[in-house]
């Protein structure tokens, strides 16, 4: 019964993933990543993981999309003189090398993994190792230990695996600090380049602001 719902969702997921791989417009790729997250979260809900679905929907479709778009706005192919952006400024560069080798690698890896699945316990099997070890009665045990806290996921996350979650929080903390360290200072401040070269860059930037002509080429010359 549930297969009528699950199989279309899986096919939509596969379709979205292929679309992301094929599409050249990065704006649209980010958009499809949001769709992919929504679909993945829907499947997670059907697979009895509402907490993960919650997180995936909030992170994947909300924050991740916004961060990708923010990055995209800072990294167009070239910025035109009057500040206008065209939609093809966010396209990938047309690719020259052929996709045969990557496809070959991916196909071989994929078939190796599929060969591996033949030894795996079938979907939903109550005899799968993950259901047997550790002692499956730990849901009941958590009810006892936590005085009836209904959400076992939270109980395990913050209770039994409290150290682990502390570590994860520290990772988020560290990543946040690292982003701030990277992005907080102005673009040309504190460069470790030779002084002359950075002066050239600064001069080129000044010229660019005054000049009406193509600024991208000048900067690139100065950089290289």
């Amino acid at each position: 019964m549930m297969n009528f719902i699950v199989i279309p969702i899986l096919l939509l997921l596969a379709l979205t993933a292929v679309t992301v791989a094929r599409i050249r417009n990065l704006w649209a790729a980010v958009m499809f990543t949001g769709i992919y997250s929504f679909l993945g979260a829907s499947w997670m809900l059907i697979l009895d993981a509402p907490d993960v679905a919650f997180t995936e929907a909030a992170v994947g479709a909300g924050i991740s999309t916004i961060l990708m778009l923010a990055t995209l706005s800072l990294t167009p192919r070239k910025r035109h003189q009057d500040g206008h952006l065209q939609s093809d400024d966010f396209d990938e560069k047309p690719r020259k090398k052929s996709p045969v080798w990557p496809l070959l690698v991916v196909t071989i890896t994929g078939f190796a993994l599929i060969y591996g699945t033949f030894d795996m316990p079938h979907f939903g099997s109550p005899e799968a190792p993950i259901q047997v070890y550790p002692d499956p009665s730990f849901i009941s045990k958590s009810q006892h230990d936590m005085h009836g806290l209904p959400n076992v996921v939270t109980a395990v996350l913050a209770g039994y695996r409290g150290y682990d979650t502390l570590g994860e929080t520290a990772v988020i903390f560290t990543a946040g600090i690292a982003v701030l360290l990277i992005l907080r200072r102005a673009p040309n401040e504190g460069l470790k380049h030779a002084d002359q070269e950075s002066e050239v860059v600064a001069a080129a930037n000044l010229i660019n602001q005054a000049d009406e002509n193509s600024d991208g080429e000048l900067t690139q010359e100065a950089d290289s």
Partner: protein, 196 residues
């Protein structure tokens, strides 16, 4: 290839397909943002793989149905929650009226007669899990309701948030690369490095 095998494994195959799509984007595309998107797809497919493995047939989400933080019950009835209702070997498939006849075998080797568990919400789960009659002695079960494994959920929950934090870090690095090199195409960056 039997039908049984297909129905038991097609989830994994789709997950592997998604994973390989992400892998392909990572190794074939030269745009750095696209690479990060591919990495995200790969990551999500790993989450899906874990979550798939935690699912039990006829199980439900690991949030106790009749829970709700009833404080009196916790203090007054903590004992019977803790000991008597911890049956693992439950003969499911009984009709609802037979619930009191469910045989509990406490994992604490407690031989007290079981207190009758709350009946709400037990009915449908008991009725629908008849298919598991042979296997019920091993699944995670509580008060007659089968729950999927919460452990993969916990692991993936933290992984998602750490994943977005590291993605943000990668994107910040991409912004810096764009500012220094003027491009986010990998081959152009390598070219610029070679010429400098």
């Amino acid at each position: 290839m039997t039908m049984d095998q297909f129905l038991g494994l097609y989830n994994y195959w789709i997950v592997i397909f998604l994973m390989m799509t992400g892998f392909y984007i990572v190794i074939a595309r030269e745009n750095l943002i696209k690479t990060i998107i591919g990495l995200n797809i790969f990551q999500t497919s790993v989450f899906l793989l874990y979550i798939t493995m935690g699912k039990v047939t006829e199980g439900t989400a690991p949030i106790i149905r009749n829970g709700g933080g009833h404080h009196e019950e916790e203090h007054g009835a903590a004992e019977h929650v803790g000991h008597a209702a911890l049956g693992r070997e439950v003969e499911l498939g009984h009709s609802v009226s037979d619930v009191s006849a469910i045989q509990h075998a406490s994992y604490l080797e407690n031989t007290n007669p079981p207190a009758s568990p709350p009946l709400d919400g037990l009915a449908d789960a008991t009725a629908t899990s008849g298919a598991l009659e042979q296997n019920t002695h091993i699944v995670a079960e509580y008060q007659g309701v089968i729950y999927s494994n919460p452990l993969p959920s916990v692991l993936m929950l933290t992984a998602i948030v750490v994943g977005i934090a590291t993605t943000a870090l990668a994107l910040a690095l991409i912004v810096r690369i764009r500012e220094e090199y003027g491009t986010i195409e990998e081959d152009e960056i390598i070219e610029l490095d070679r010429n400098s």
